[in-house]
């Protein structure tokens, strides 16, 4: 540093935001488990509170370890900055609460993680924020759903669990034509598979619990801002372009031309809602991020082998993986996800419900639990777990059938995974003969 271009992804995954500790020489990122930070003087304290200086005051607002994670995920996404949150759900809530309020409207993909669907369909409604859900492949539906009150357009890079590929360039253009940003949940893809900002998205969030952490140990989230959306030009976001009485009458868009959104999200959202990330969690996620490129490559390789096995098995009615020509978004995936479509996908078993139960219970290597993106392989039945609050119509709109099984392919030897699935499919077949 400096060179003629910024460092590449694998380098950023190890170094962005971190340097040897100037106080101790520690090479790995130190874990700063402290709530607060001593002021040098009264003047220093006042200037930190008044944003005349940058620095840490209280770990709900910022923390040195957490800041390394924030800078690193922002670097990997190609963003201007990030805020670490208590969970992916907290990141989604923070994004919405920063620019929307009672009377606001959101247009969202119908193919969402069940928790996100709950937040939008039920919980935010109670606070006066309405959401219209649209089928992600129907671009006309995105356009038709926009209202004067719309403040956000939202979808998942790969919809859960059907892996609908979000046409980010088209949906971003629709959002921008209406003067609102596009928020993308990139949990399933991670920046290794796709960088939504390069395709036109404005905001990205992750459940860092999943692939970013990668080891199934902590719950956390990250909200990343591209810095590219022009809030002033839009004219729809007084939260960012007019004085905020709650923080020194600050006009966030003037304070930071490219960081207005994150300033308000931190100065209001973390301060008042308080869904911050523990520094310990940030430290653990950083261990995961360092190997993200290596792990994602292996996740995708393993997923391809498992998909290939399942697609040829007589007990399997359908495999929903966009790299298969049978997937409705196959062509879009080739264009937007050339490195692969991740390692979370669903398939439909032949047969009745009892056979599905027999399949899951016969698995020995796959763990039956509610998570994805672990280094270990996982399995779940969405209709009875992650998406259980959705009615049949909503389930169908999200591409989920009563016999749909979701897999998250880990880093085990792929031959062992295939052997485990083969045995479980045999058990399911036997259950059908009883």
């Amino acid at each position: 540093m400096p060179g003629a271009s910024d460092p590449a992804f694998d380098t950023l995954a190890l170094h962005a935001g971190a340097a040897p500790d100037p106080a101790t020489g520690a090479r790995a990122t130190p874990l700063h488990l402290t709530t607060s930070f001593v002021f040098e003087s009264s003047e220093h304290a006042a200037s930190l509170f008044n944003m005349e200086r940058a620095g840490h005051v209280y770990s709900r607002i910022s923390n040195p370890t957490t800041a390394v994670f924030e800078e690193r995920i922002a670097a990997l996404e190609g963003g201007a900055g990030a805020i670490a949150t208590a969970s992916g759900q907290a990141a989604l809530h923070l994004a919405i609460a920063t620019i929307a309020g009672a009377g606001s409207h959101i247009v969202a993909s119908a193919s969402l993680y069940g928790g996100s669907h709950n937040l939008l369909a039920y919980t935010l409604k109670r606070f006066g924020i309405e959401t219209t859900f649209v089928r992600p492949r129907d671009l006309d539906a995105w356009r038709a759903a926009l209202r004067p009150q719309t403040r956000l357009v939202f979808g998942e890079s790969l919809g859960n669990p059907g892996l609908d590929v979000l046409d980010i360039p088209e949906v971003a253009a629709i959002a921008h034509g209406h003067g609102v940003p596009l928020l993308v949940d990139a949990t399933f893809t991670t920046p290794w598979l796709q960088k939504p900002f390069e395709l036109g998205a404005d905001l990205v969030f992750h459940s860092a619990t999943k692939f970013l952490s990668g080891h199934g140990t902590v719950v956390g989230g990250a909200l990343v801002d591209s810095g590219r959306f022009d809030w002033e030009r839009s004219g729809r976001f007084p939260e960012l372009t007019e004085p905020y009485a709650g923080f020194h009458d600050m006009v966030f868009s003037q304070e930071s031309t490219v960081g207005a959104f994150l300033l308000r999200a931190r100065r209001e959202g973390l301060r008042d809602f308080g869904a911050c990330m523990s520094p310990h969690t940030a430290w653990l996620i950083l261990q995961g991020l360092e190997t993200l490129p290596l792990r994602m490559a292996r996740h995708v390789d393993n997923a391809r082998k498992v998909v290939g096995f399942l697609a040829g098995h007589p007990m399997v009615a359908r495999v929903g993986y966009p790299e298969l020509e049978s997937h409705p978004d196959h062509a879009l995936a080739k264009r937007l996800l050339p490195r692969g479509c991740g390692s979370v996908f669903s398939f439909d078993l032949q047969g009745h419900r009892a056979q599905g139960v027999a399949f899951i219970e016969a698995l020995r290597l796959f763990s039956h639990l509610a998570n994805v993106g672990d280094c270990r392989s996982l399995v779940i039945h969405p209709a009875s777990t992650t998406h259980f609050r959705m009615d049949d119509a909503a389930l169908a709109a999200a591409g989920i059938g009563p016999g749909t099984i979701r897999l998250s392919i880990g880093l085990e030897d792929p031959d062992d995974l295939v052997a485990d699935l083969k045995a479980a499919l045999k058990a399911a077949e036997k259950a059908g003969t009883r």
């Binding site: 460092p7 800041a67 900055g81 590219r228 300033l263 931190r266």
Partner: protein, 275 residues
């Protein structure tokens, strides 16, 4: 706020989170190529809350200020003087970064009676831009922006980051450069770099400056290298303060820059005192 000029255009200046108060000792901040006032906001807020009035300008044709973009550093300085007239700022302390340092120098020379102090950051004279970069800026500004963004930063972990923790400086600067370029008619990036390259009045201007001057240099700066400050520092009889940073001094080392600035432009009152 926006200040209406006699020619019918208006220029924007960020006032540091305080209302503009003509008559108070004033610090003027001038940004570099393809930037806007937001590269100064921490410093601007500090001075505004320590007894000064502040004008962190968006130079003509940049950010929130009307165009056209002047076609020389000299013309840019003329417009900045017009802004001071419109704002009623008689005497000012001038702080400039990179292209803005050239503008501040030229302004201090054109109106020496109005300049009470001159601080130049990321300064080199002559501020020659390599022909290859000028050509790239003209033909492929996106690629040139990526190059300049990489050249501007000395590392990947400047702390405590700017304007606060969680900001990825490379990404924030790239976003700002792209925002400025997208909002301007024509190729503002190439235009600004040509202005820097063409400015030839530096030593003449330095001879006309009457106020105390200081240079603040990043020891890792490869855009305006430390070694290229000597001649202009000598002409200004200015001390050069070295800071461990690259060209993006205010972002990579905001506290060190403030400390260096305070030696030339001290606080006028402790925090908490009524203005």
């Amino acid at each position: 706020m926006r200040f209406a000029l006699d020619d019918g255009t208006a220029l924007f200046a960020y006032t540091g989170g305080k209302p503009w108060t003509p008559g108070r000792p004033t610090v003027v901040f001038a940004h570099g190529a393809l930037h806007d006032h937001s590269v100064w906001t921490l410093l601007a807020r500090w001075y505004a809350h320590h007894g000064h009035a502040v004008l962190a300008v968006d130079l003509p044709g940049h950010g929130r200020s009307d165009g056209p973009v002047p076609d020389s550093v000299e013309a840019m300085a003329g417009r900045l003087l017009a802004l001071l007239d419109a704002a009623g700022a008689a005497e000012v302390r001038l702080v400039g970064h990179s292209m803005g340092a050239l503008v501040a120098l030229e302004m201090a020379a054109r109106a020496p009676q109005r300049a009470a102090a001159l601080v130049l950051l990321g300064m080199a004279y002559p501020m020659k831009v390599s022909p290859a970069l000028l050509a790239t800026a003209a033909e492929d500004p996106g690629r040139a922006i990526a190059m300049v963004n990489a050249f501007s930063h000395s590392g990947m972990a400047a702390k405590p980051s700017y304007p606060g923790p969680g900001t990825w400086l490379h990404g924030a600067n790239a976003a700002l450069l792209h925002r400025m370029q997208a909002a301007a008619p024509g190729n503002l990036f190439a235009h600004d770099f040509r202005l820097c390259d063409a400015y030839a009045r530096g030593l003449e201007a330095a001879a006309a400056v009457r106020c105390p001057a200081r240079l603040i240099a990043g020891i890792h700066d490869v855009m305006t290298p430390r070694r290229a400050t000597a001649e202009i520092a000598g002409a200004l009889r200015a001390e050069v303060v070295d800071i461990a940073a690259g060209h993006a001094l205010m972002q990579e080392a905001p506290d060190a820059v403030l400390n260096a600035l305070r030696q030339v432009i001290p606080a006028l009152r402790p925090p908490g005192d009524a203005p």
